[in-house]
Symmetry: C3
């Protein structure tokens, strides 16, 4: 991990606005998981189950919940939510250890004269920014990225290298788009004809809210007529496919390799696991949890936890069960006939 | 959606070569789905189920099937296939509203002197075109894309930004390749040896037919010895993996996140849903429909519709069913024993 | 396939260090699968099942196992492992037919003055190499690729075009990273808070061993605190997601479209099929085989073959079975009640 600087726990506690028990001069030079915390490490525990590991460790400091503040003698930061406090600590760490480069527009970037770059904008090498695009204050466009005509990138948004943002897409403030992501490619709309597939040109756009994170190689297609919409605070992991006219509500989190087919609506505050596939033209209400690898083949109208997926088994056993499954209906019908 | 211009429905009907009932001077300035059609909108309906929404809407004009031409009083275009007519309308719209930029080769493109660019070719910023490549008339190569040695890109083909086309790949006329796609990376061929995996260098290529669409972040690997082949009119959505030596027949459509393992042959006119996984070395005949999320673990020799996939259930119920499924064979054997 | 040169089988046998039976002056100008071997082809067979195809073919030469050396009269190379010998032949072919271009750093590459490029390094057009990065002897960085600050790319490693390697990532010697891959994007770490998701800044890195192959559009995320680790000799196909803090042991092979969630450990010598999804925080021991499309929802502690996945069926049948499956637990409970 990034290192080379150390902090006093007093400074850290003050920055995170939490109480400290122990010597404020204790030095910490790295954040570590409790299992691998060595000298000068600051770590965190969320419950009593980690106390043993903490006591075995050489950690110099720890973030603990109030209830455990008496269970250790090392310097401790007291937080009602140690995991959130740890997240805030990582931000403190980045802010104080990463060297911020001054805003700079690389000479090799191809920027249309009609594009507007506000103050503090950084543009990497080999970037293309087309006509009418606007990049708001302090945003960064990573090397090799493409910003199409009329695109709007919000303030403080970070576009990592080799990202593609097609014409007309709007991205809000404080977003992060990781490398290889593609926002605004054409939705997959085709009409069958006698001569093959006739393309339905995709005339909608993509609207991405504020504080949205989009993972590496994730794709968000433009809408057919209306826009595809990603709400504020949505977090999308890598390799996600968001098809045309999908809408995703605020603060919903989606893990990697999940695909969402066209015109499906996903509510607010949902948590969708990895490798889930969601069919098109359905609705998932607010606050739904979908576990990994599920096949969402129908609307979900009630908050709660939903699953599907064939559990792992030794191949020989699986093969037998799969054969039985293929004849399950037949078998049950037979059984019922026998009984009458 | 793209806007800023309006058309008379008379002009539209003439361009699409369909009959018009109503005032030809009616102005339309946007295409809209029937549910969101406001003033100056032209919409379409494919059957009587949408009549109520149409009547509720403020649409100025509508594309209707012959059978429904008497069911509305607004300006209507009569088509035997309204959905296809809508697709043609989107093309009309793009042709008449998007400003076509003149063909232009950006100064920052690195083009080998031995590459041949025909008339009307556009090349974006930071493009690389290597030795012996040829780009046919009116093709476009988007910013940041890579066109390897000996590649042929057909006429009127559009390569979007940040696409990678490796050496020797052939792409036909009238194709579209979306951002982030990779055509012609090495197939995954390895021989086990005592010292680990020995690479089987992939000496085949990729041949993509005419009028093929390849989605964002889709990959089509080069063949081991022979070529990987994508037939004319094939449409591939985003995040599809086409492994080495796969062949896909004409006009087959494949939805997003589907993976096809090596040396599998897919027939013509198939429709394969999203998130399908297809094992290697099998054949799927013409006109097969595979529903979303299926696991195609064997050849399909008869046209028809095929499925697999565990249906979604509340997690508590799923867990119980999954436990039963893991012991299904054992259970049925036990039951049969009991009965004898 | 690449062609234009021919070799005598004597030269080939000598280069591969295997015995030859037949005329050493026999010319071969292409490698072909036994089914498509024409004149001047050299092919290979791994067992007696291919003899008939061999005899039907026009192959000029063949690699055969010792046991079959008497079963054909054409020139034959005798190998205890014909498939491995074929792999070595493809390497011989590439070495003798592809023109090696001299090492060259393209003028359009943006290379920070503090980056170190050793002898023989090639850098394509529009590449970015940031501060403190080092590229070891004879490595190649493909056009449009991004090499972040402090990255180390090992000797003889090939980075294909449009690859993104984020800051601090280490890639060993003799590796190959295919187009569109992203190494070192942020892991998906977030803490829930009252105001939405608080980002856990990812302070770990990625360490990739020697002789690793990473497929097109594959992503390997950086660790949260510790590193994500890919062992020596690991081969990853396309569209794979390796989440933060995953570790993959030496010589493990993973096929396309597989996703591995965070902090999961995979042993050495495993073979994982395509479209497998593996949940986070589990361990898979050495020498485990997971078949395609499996859902790995628990640790695997014993070497062997494991599977899951709903087998393909005609849609009508599948629908009935799926309905039964959704009520399987209920059904079995009912049955047991009846019996008592």
């Amino acid at each position: 991990m990034i290192s080379g600087r150390s902090f006093s726990v007093g400074q850290v506690a003050k920055a995170l606005d939490v109480a400290l028990i122990g010597d404020p001069e204790t030095r910490v030079s790295r954040i570590a998981a409790v299992e691998s915390a060595g000298p000068e490490s600051i770590t965190f525990i969320t419950g009593p189950g980690y106390l043993e590991a903490l006591n075995r460790s050489q950690a110099a400091a720890v973030i603990v919940p109030d209830s455990l503040s008496g269970e250790t003698s090392i310097a401790r930061l007291i937080s009602s939510n140690p995991y959130l406090c740890y997240a805030q600590l990582t931000r403190f760490w980045v802010d104080h250890t990463e060297t911020k480069s001054a805003a700079h527009v690389h000479a090799s970037a191809a920027i249309d004269p009609s594009a507007i770059l506000e103050s503090g904008v950084s543009v990497g090498a080999s970037v293309t920014i087309e006509a009418g695009a606007s990049v708001k204050a302090n945003a960064k466009i990573g090397a090799g990225s493409f910003v199409g005509a009329g695109v709007c990138v919000g303030s403080n948004t970070v576009i990592h290298p080799n990202v593609t943002i097609m014409h007309g897409v709007t991205i809000g403030d404080g977003c992060e788009v990781h490398a290889g992501a593609v926002i605004g490619a054409d939705g997959f709309g085709w009409a069958p004809s006698r001569d093959g597939w006739e393309k339905i040109h995709q005339l909608g756009g993509v609207r991405v809210g504020d504080r949205v994170s989009i993972g590496a190689c994730t794709t968000v297609d433009r809408g057919a007529l209306d826009d595809t919409v990603i709400g504020d605070g949505v977090i999308l992991d890598n390799h996600i496919q968001v098809a045309h006219n999908v809408t995703i509500g605020e603060n919903t989190a989606i893990a990697g390799c999940t695909g969402i087919a066209g015109s499906t609506h996903i509510g607010r505050g949902c948590r969708i696991g990895g490798a889930v596939s969601i069919v098109g033209h359905i609705s998932i209400c607010d606050n739904v949890l979908i576990t990994a690898n599920s096949f969402v083949n129908r609307s979900v109208k009630k908050p709660g936890s939903y699953s599907s997926g064939f559990p792992l088994e030794e191949s020989a056993t699986w093969r037998k069960n799969a054969v039985r499954l293929r004849k399950l209906d037949e078998f049950i019908r037979g059984l019922r006939k026998t009984k009458h």
